[in-house]
Symmetry: C2
Subunit: 440 residues, 2 copies
């Protein structure tokens, strides 16, 4: 018997119960913060020597120099060549689709633009790739080759000339799929280091490891704390919380499909969150029955059970409209609109990392190979942030070329406002362009 809660929006205590389900604290552990600060300071001061010490201590990996921790491009290729053909092909196909999507993304929103106004003044933005980025790839049980593709390919499509991967290999154990994915995704250099020390090496640079401009990729609490710490020194992507799925169902999808989609989030870890929103109580019962029936067959059933009982919920709503409103309050990472008429509901959905439309769009297809990125905002941050994309590996510079005629129009406006702010040099700089020409 699975202890999975059902909530009804008509219940008087719904609001309290709903808030309890959503509650998740991103507060960081002060002890971890302190240890991370020490590691960052050590790497900043002592560079390679500190990286070697921490790698020996935390990853039980003893080498003579940081250079010995670099994986050559040949090693990455050998890992790819050693894969079972089916895996090699799946990796290639997934990479091709992810690349194709991100190329479209670059075209849609990542190109320079400019225009001239009636005075001949040129205005626009120049879009350029970052010079060098670092991609953190976790080791151990959370080693996902698909995450290598999802982080490295947008950087590659953006045109970043140097993509550096770091991945811890505790006791020297390398994950061949991760190395193969790095090969397929076009990673330029790779080091077998991890933890806060890897983040520090990328943020500050050492004699062996070059300083990067941005660090992306998921990691444990130490990595997350280190990334938050170096933010400003370098760019970072979002700090990811536990993964979440929200299925908004109108009752037309086979209940087994929905049950398995809820499992596919719950199997990540005990803190992952799977929620079903549906106005059809009878259908909710069928999904619950499917969950009970399918669960014993799942290899990761212990994790799935803990996740569903701890953080899962089946929510019975008054209507699909109300389900959409609740979805907006949750702002989920993954949102499946499991409906015969998904385009009816999509316009009502304002906040979500990714929206999966229709019964055939299982989240797992999007996780691996549909094309869009699987690095998505969690814990309600879809209210204000976006999937990882090509734009994360580019930056923009405003372009302004004021014509002589334009300077005569803009000068008095700028001078008036500058004097109003008490900034006389600003005002005079504008006025100098009024009084004489560049020729004298």
């Amino acid at each position: 018997m699975l202890n999975l809660r059902t909530l009804h929006t008509t219940d008087s205590d719904f609001e309290t119960a709903f808030r309890q389900v959503l509650h998740w604290s991103a507060d960081t552990d002060a002890e971890i913060e302190g240890r991370v600060a020490d590691i960052l300071a050590a790497v900043r001061q002592r560079g390679d020597a500190a990286v070697l010490e921490f790698t020996a201590r935390f990853d039980h990996l003893q080498v003579a120099s940081v250079a010995a921790l670099e994986l050559t491009r040949d090693e990455l290729k050998a890992a790819f060549d050693g894969l079972p053909p089916e895996q090699a092909q799946a990796l290639n196909q997934a990479a091709a689709r992810v690349r194709s999507y991100h190329e479209r993304q670059k075209k849609a929103c990542g190109e320079s633009w400019s225009y001239r106004d009636e005075d001949g003044t040129l205005l626009g933005q120049k879009v350029t790739p970052l010079d060098r980025v670092g991609i953190y790839v976790p080791g151990g049980k959370a080693a996902y080759p698909s995450s290598v593709l999802m982080n490295a390919i947008p950087a590659q499509v953006a045109g970043v000339p140097e993509i550096i991967m770091v991945v811890p290999t505790p006791r020297g154990e390398k994950n061949p799929l991760v190395l193969a994915a790095a090969y397929v995704a076009g990673v330029h250099r790779a080091f077998t280091i991890g933890g806060a020390q890897a983040v520090a090496a990328l943020a500050y640079g050492t004699d062996t490891i070059p300083r990067v401009d941005k660090i992306t990729g998921p990691g444990n609490a130490y990595v997350a704390s280190a990334k938050k710490h170096v933010f400003g020194q370098v760019g970072i992507d979002m700090i990811a919380g536990p993964s979440e799925i929200l299925v908004l169902a109108d009752g037309t999808t086979p209940p087994d499909w929905v049950a398995m989609d809820l499992f596919s989030q719950a199997e990540h870890d005990e803190l992952a969150q799977s929620i079903l929103l549906c106005p059809d109580l009878d259908y909710i019962g069928k999904v619950r029955e499917a969950i009970e029936r399918l669960l014993p067959g799942m290899p990761r059933q212990a994790v799935i059970r803990a996740s569903l009982e701890g953080r899962g919920a089946l929510i019975h709503t008054r209507s699909m409209e109300e389900a959409c409103e609740i979805s907006n309050r949750i702002a989920p990472e993954h949102l499946e609109v499991s409906s015969r008429d998904p385009h009816r509901w999509e316009p009502l959905l304002r906040h979500a990392g990714a929206i999966f439309l229709g019964a055939f769009t299982s989240e797992s297809l999007g996780d691996y190979c549909a094309g869009p990125n699987h690095v998505l905002p969690t814990s309600g941050t879809a209210r204000f942030s976006s999937p990882l994309g090509v734009y994360d590996f580019q930056k923009r510079s405003s372009l302004i070329e004021v014509s002589e005629a334009g300077a005569q129009v803009l000068g008095p406006i700028a001078a008036t406002l500058a004097y109003g702010e008490g900034l006389q040099a600003h005002a005079q700089a504008a006025e100098f362009r009024l009084r004489r020409t560049a020729a004298d």
Copy 2:
């Protein structure tokens, strides 16, 4: 006599001297951090009551309720109506140009897009405005109405339905230009609160002040620390360091213009940085002469002198090409290409917040009214970040609709990779879409 350093790239100690000029530490004060953490916790726990207490203590403003700190739309309008006509007109003209530029920006990179692949699978991204944003406007000497325009207008163009401004008014003194700018820029609500307590109120919400999704705008060390603290709970823009200008000159611009442009950055504060890069030593001498001659006439000469002597530099380079390389190392906030042939050098410039092309494009024209945003990345962060823009007030959601045919193609790829990662529910969710159709 002004003690402004000249460096020559040919000098053997150039590298050391150059690094010294650039050195600026963004490290935050532990004492400030501690006080800010206390303020944030108090507002989080006690809401309005804490906001009132801190406002009384820090701004010497005693009122009975937070509601009494709200500025009505009528008060904002009255401030605008009370302006001298020249100021009112300048504000309107600047706002119109800034709005027009940001509308172009939204068209160029802020619209939803999608496409269908050969299987009929729909892929794309939906771009939506944030629900509610907070704009921090400093009080006192750094009260800049132009910053109100630059923060609020991109949010308005993005379509944010609720823009909330906070501005401290120590002892109740209100800046009419700031209030008028809020009116012109379409701010929806405004509260006369400031400091870390204002950031906390916006991030967590109180009974009176609604919780926002993102907080932008400059502030003092307390505000910066508070913003960094609440990052993740809400979105924030970059934490700004001291303002900087870099003038890259080929020696064809009147030296007085360049001198005044250097002043216009230096007059902001003692930590602001003004640097000239030029291959023509004779011209550098003329700029220095202009600086010495013009400085005594500047009302803010004390600040300008402190800034130029503390952080300024005239750098003599071997060539314009070398000047461009050095500019890329600096990654300045404002970059003037003061050349007869700015388009020759622009392609060599990879990192800058804004690039001002040609002698007529003084930075101050861009600061107020050319159109592009004046909120720009500082302290070398132009390596990885961008001007404030419409995109900061939007977020993206991936859209995926896999067709039945598409699910047959994608399913085996996803399943292979999911099994490779040990995530069986992911694999089965994909396989369920292979075995049967939505109809059964």
